[in-house]
């Protein structure tokens, strides 16, 4: 296959719009990983370094990624993992276990899930273990490489870490962090949580085994940086099949971002929240108004989308009620009650 980029491919507009919708919807709805994480390069480097130390050099580590909802914690971790797994050796050796606090609500369920993800159901079979620690030790023992010299490195990712802290005795956390502190096997424990006070939820014995390493994702963007981010999110990359369409689209996005009313909307959104998720909600509404007959996003679309996102739900519901309270001018002197209004209405 020739590596020369085919510059003169022209797809019909309908096809272009379909491709555009696919690309952007994957980005907004499905959280497709960006090529490079934007705005969090230092954290990305830090995380990657830590994971590499476990995967390649056999060091045990524990780490917490803390940030409000929608800040990009899962995206950061997945980007780091993707970059880590590009190394063939790591890809072969590293074992990954992904646990989620919403799904694994109990330590027993969590242990079953760990067994399953490490593909050790057959090994465990019908054995009955005395305690959680024994079970976990057995699992890790079973992961040793063929020549029994060293264990395979294991990565435990705990999503919604704060929910694990509500389990009985925090057994899972204690044992995992215990393993990461003692020299049994190279284990990396990475927790993701939205609570900034997560450390206070941990018991003393758990907290002491934790390395107190935290990566904070508190964004401190300025408005121009936020605008650049919007533009980047909406723009098409070079990988788009029809280069001409991509160029036109990108320039229309640029004009949109320079439009005064659109900027007001973005500024309002910026003051409300700077995380990715609320931005994606707004952009999905804008994207849904792109059709074949109107293959651009106009400022009116952005205004309409903002109106839908930021409308007051309670006011909407109140509007639908049968009673229309019309307060008279001198109503502050007139005591209102339901019988009074009932008499007025009927």
């Amino acid at each position: 296959m020739s590596k020369r980029k085919v510059k003169d491919v022209h797809l019909p507009t309908g096809e272009c719009i379909t491709q555009l919708q696919q690309v952007l919807r994957e980005r907004f709805c499905h959280q497709r990983l960006p090529e490079k994480p934007e705005g969090v390069e230092a954290q990305h480097k830090n995380l990657l370094e830590l994971l590499r130390r476990t995967a390649v050099h056999g060091e045990s580590n524990s780490l917490l990624i803390v940030g409000p909802r929608g800040a990009g914690k899962t995206t950061l971790l997945r980007c780091a993992l993707r970059d880590l797994l590009q190394d063939k050796d790591v890809n072969k050796n590293l074992l990954q276990v992904h646990l989620n606090g919403l799904l694994q609500t109990d330590d027993r369920i969590a242990l079953k899930e760990i067994t399953r993800q490490l593909h050790l159901e057959n090994v465990v079979g019908d054995k009955v273990f005395g305690s959680f620690a024994e079970n976990l030790a057995f699992l890790l023992e079973a992961l040793k490489k063929g020549d029994r010299s060293s264990s395979r490195p294991a990565l435990f990712v705990l999503d919604e870490f704060d929910l694990f802290a509500h389990h009985k005795n925090q057994t899972l956390l204690y044992n995992l962090l215990d393993v990461s502190q003692s020299a049994q096997a190279p284990v990396a424990v990475v927790g993701l949580t939205c609570r900034l006070d997560v450390m206070e939820l941990l018991e003393k014995r758990v907290k002491s085994r934790f390395s107190h390493r935290q990566i904070l994702l508190l964004s401190s963007l300025s408005f121009p940086q936020y605008q650049q981010r919007i533009q980047a999110q909406l723009s098409l990359t070079d990988a788009f099949p029809d280069a001409h369409f991509a160029e036109e689209w990108n320039s229309s996005i640029k004009t949109l971002c320079e439009d005064k009313s659109a900027q007001d909307v973005f500024r309002r959104q910026f003051h409300f929240s700077t995380d990715f998720r609320s931005l994606h909600t707004l952009l999905v509404f804008c994207l849904s108004r792109v059709t074949v007959s109107k293959p651009v996003i106009k400022a009116a679309d952005v205004l309409e989308a903002s109106r839908l996102c930021l409308c007051d739900a309670k006011a909407n519901m109140l509007h639908g009620n049968s009673f229309n309270f019309e307060l008279h001018k001198d109503s502050i002197y007139w005591p209102f009650s339901f019988p009074v209004v009932l008499q007025l209405e009927i």
């Binding site: 379909t18 929910l163 739900a313 519901m317 639908g320 339901f338």
Partner: protein
């Protein structure tokens, strides 16, 4: 707004049929279709639709799912009292009965997700799958992890799936403490008067013309619209009263008398059928017997309550205490009283009668004072009298205002209407109107 009639990815004739089946909801359906996008594209993981009852939420979604033939699982949270039923329903709808049989006895969410992932690897989604959950407010009472997990189900199972929640309650009341994945919020507004007219006119009776029916609907809406905008209620009322409306026609009278004939009838219906004092069956029977002079015997418990003798007087005393201002007690209940000086007492704009303002609270002492002056014989203050006051509270004829801890000075409020107390006082030959300040 994007027009419903055309969207790439869905056949035009299907969309047109959808538009015919959902009158007055084209805007909302169009927005939904544009958000759903083409079937093979990803859609936002969760959408939350809110609106009053009978605003067409379930109707629009079911029509869309059925006509556009989208793979979906329709779940009513009222039916799925346990999460296991929900999991079974979802797995059956997407992967067939055999998939649901793999679920263990009392499955946890972890097992559901694992099973889904397993099934998904065997049959991945070519188009977006939808889970439509009605009465989603009941999810708040389920396990605390169910709602946040459902909102981000797309991420957890790694499949092209969207969860649509329908509810009458706003989203702010759903949000968990530590936050969750925020869904897209869509509002379905109420139908306006014109829209109600349009929709109600579609169920016209086959033997009458459409204009007659729509003029009937017009009259009906004129009477009922100010109190009721619920489509289901209005349809019920329209169906109940149509026969009466057509009576003059069947008897061969003039058509312009129709309005005059039906209007008092509708007013009566508003007071009885609409507030369910009379059941629909009773209403139809009454229509047939056509007893103009007789009062409507309602289903309400109030007309059938029989109270002991002193309780009636206690109730009368309570009513007087609630609806007379305290300063007028002297005039009504003391044997030799002076005249009331009217001018100083009237506060600014105090023209509204006490009956409109609602009952006022009174202390127990005042109640007893009025009681002793109202009851004709000498009554000793025994425990039986006091216990009758408590039973009146239990019957919800009186309401206790003060905190239950305060035993020495309880306060009450009388919560019955003038009609009821007139009926009660008539049975003891007591003229209550003479003692009410508003009727002086």
């Amino acid at each position: 707004m994007p027009k419903l009639l055309h969207h790439p990815g869905y056949a035009d004739e299907k969309l047109q049929r959808v538009e015919q089946l959902i009158p007055c909801r084209e805007l909302q359906a169009g927005m939904l279709v544009s958000l759903m996008g083409q079937p093979q594209h990803y859609s936002y993981p969760s959408i939350f639709i809110y609106g009053h009852r009978a605003s067409g939420k379930s109707h629009v979604l079911h029509i869309l799912m059925k006509e556009l033939e989208l793979p979906h699982a329709a779940v009513s949270c009222v039916e799925c009292v346990s999460a296991a039923l929900l999991y079974e329903r979802v797995l059956t709808s997407f992967f067939g009965r055999s998939a649901a049989s793999f679920l263990p006895r009392s499955p946890s969410l972890s097992e559901f997700v694992r099973l889904y992932r397993h099934q998904r690897s065997q049959s991945p989604a070519e188009q977006t799958r939808y889970i439509v959950m009605e009465k989603a407010e009941l999810l708040r009472d389920a396990d605390a992890n169910l709602l946040p997990a459902l909102l981000r189900l797309q991420e957890l199972v790694d499949d092209n799936i969207t969860v649509i929640l329908l509810s009458e309650i706003v989203w702010e009341k759903f949000r968990p403490n530590t936050g969750c994945f925020e869904p897209l919020l869509l509002h379905f507004p109420d139908y306006s008067k014109g829209e109600l007219q349009q929709i109600l006119s579609t169920d016209s009776h086959p033997s009458y013309s459409a204009e007659l029916y729509s003029s009937y609907i017009n009259i009906l809406l004129g009477v009922f619209y100010s109190v009721c905008r619920d489509l289901r209620e209005l349809r019920h009322l329209a169906a109940l009263n149509f026969n009466k409306f057509c009576e003059p026609l069947t008897e061969g009278k003039e058509t312009h008398k129709l309005w005059r004939n039906i209007e008092p009838h509708l007013k009566k219906a508003m007071q009885t059928v609409y507030i369910r004092e009379v059941s629909s069956l009773q209403w139809e029977q009454m229509q047939q017997t056509e007893d103009e002079g007789g009062a409507l015997r309602g289903l309400s418990a109030h007309t059938h309550v029989e109270l002991p003798y002193y309780s009636k007087f206690l109730l009368i005393a309570a009513y007087l205490a609630s609806y007379n201002p305290a300063r007028t007690d002297k005039r009504f209940f003391v044997k030799h009283h002076g005249k009331i000086r009217k001018t100083n007492f009237l506060k600014k704009n105090e023209k509204t009668s006490n009956h409109l303002l609602g009952p006022k609270p009174f202390a127990l002492d005042r109640l007893l004072a009025i009681f002793y002056s109202v009851v004709d014989s000498r009554v000793a203050p025994t425990a039986s009298i006091f216990s009758q006051i408590s039973s009146l509270v239990t019957l919800q004829l009186l309401t206790q205002i003060s905190h239950t801890d305060q035993l020495d000075a309880p306060k009450y409020k009388c919560s019955i209407s003038l009609d009821f107390i007139s009926a009660v006082s008539r049975t003891v030959n007591f003229d209550i109107v003479k003692y009410l300040y508003d009727f002086l």
